[in-house]
């Protein structure tokens, strides 16, 4: 009986401990990663909406974001092997372009809401391109693998970047938006 109680106590203690630790981690993540970026995005959106820069950028992006051809071109440009490692860090560029598209063109109804799906892929063919050597090192890759792997991934993105937009475009009609 005593043993049983101890076992139950340990089990409950373990679960409660894990939950509490999980709560601590999630608050950490929010304070360290999420809130600072929200502050940055809020400042940016505020300035964009108030100064009218938003209309200007929206006019610039509208022809690219509102058609399949435009999104394919956008993804191909971002996937260029010279540009993609530069655009990668922290996904800052993808987050800014995404916020611009979302808060101007999509929110105003300038481009159909369904285009959100291919747009999510069109703004992101450079994902992780800045991080290839480190990512491969985390996977304990040999130096030769890194030497071959970096250009292999960069060139692959030139193909798979636009392909991802195309696939998302095919799935677009399944979204229940107008």
């Amino acid at each position: 009986m005593n043993k049983f109680l101890v076992k139950i106590g340990r089990g409950v203690g373990g679960v409660v401990g894990a939950l509490y630790q999980a709560g601590r981690e999630s608050i950490d993540q929010v304070v360290v990663n999420i809130l600072p970026f929200m502050a940055f995005i809020a400042l940016m959106i505020g300035i964009i909406l108030k100064t009218g820069i938003g209309d200007w950028i929206a006019n610039l992006l509208a022809p690219l974001a509102g058609s399949l051809i435009g999104l394919l071109i956008l993804s191909a440009i971002i996937a260029l092997p010279v540009l993609s490692p530069l655009l990668g860090p922290g996904a800052v560029i993808a987050q800014i372009i995404g916020t611009l598209l979302g808060s101007t063109l999509i929110a105003n109804g300038d481009i159909p809401a369904r285009f959100a799906l291919p747009a999510l892929f069109a703004i992101n063919p450079q994902v992780g391109c800045d991080f290839i050597p480190v990512g491969l090192a985390l996977g304990e890759a040999e130096p030769e693998t890194v030497e071959v792997g970096v250009p292999a991934v960069l060139f692959s993105r030139l193909i798979t970047g636009p392909v991802s937009v195309l696939i998302a475009f095919l799935f677009m009609p399944l979204l229940p938006y107008e």
């Binding site: 292999a152 998302a168 229940p176």
Partner: protein, 178 residues
């Protein structure tokens, strides 16, 4: 004097709009996010991330039926349990020739699940949130977009893994020839 006041009002207005955006982000997104992050963090801690090591060993095998294991199942489990950037350490189970393709596949999946599993990459949430905000502004639910982003993402990383594996093989052969 009037002009000065007007200018000051405009200047403050810039940040007032930003402040309103910040409040809407914090009130609308952060509470759900904290609870969800806590749940998933606890789940991962209780299951134990080392459980997926077996899948890593499994994914290392040659043969066409292991492609989905290597470029869909393993990247998904890796980013879900280990999150960005520790997910790439799963590459250590794979032979050198597959490492660049696995990295490409895994790193491309740190954004598509963000609408449902934000714990994967809380620092880069706005790749998803930026565009999702536009859908929300139109009065639609963002859940269908989140689900299709996750599903189409799996198809994209599968194709990306296969293409990068081919390109790596070609580049490796060329290097050997030299």
């Amino acid at each position: 004097m009037d002009a000065l006041v007007l200018a000051a009002e405009w200047f403050i207005g810039l940040f007032k709009t930003g402040g309103d955006v910040f409040v809407s982000l914090v009130v609308g997104i952060v509470p759900l996010l904290i609870v969800l992050l806590t749940f998933v963090n606890a789940l991962v801690a209780l299951i134990g991330p080392e459980k997926i090591d077996k899948v890593g060993e499994w994914a290392a095998r040659d043969g066409i039926i292991y492609y989905p294991v290597r470029y869909i199942l393993l990247p998904f489990l890796a980013v879900f349990f280990l999150t960005n950037p520790m997910a790439y350490t799963m590459g250590r189970f794979l032979p050198e020739k597959y490492k660049p393709a696995f990295y490409d596949s895994a790193v491309s999946y740190v954004h598509p699940p963000l609408g449902i599993f934000p714990h994967i990459n809380p620092g880069e949430l706005f790749v998803w949130l930026g565009i999702a905000a536009g859908i929300e502004a139109l009065g639609y639910s963002v859940v269908p977009l989140a689900v299709w982003y996750l599903i189409v993402g799996l198809i994209v990383i599968f194709i990306r893994g296969i293409v990068t594996e081919r390109i790596t093989a070609i580049m490796w052969a060329r290097r050997e020839a030299k």
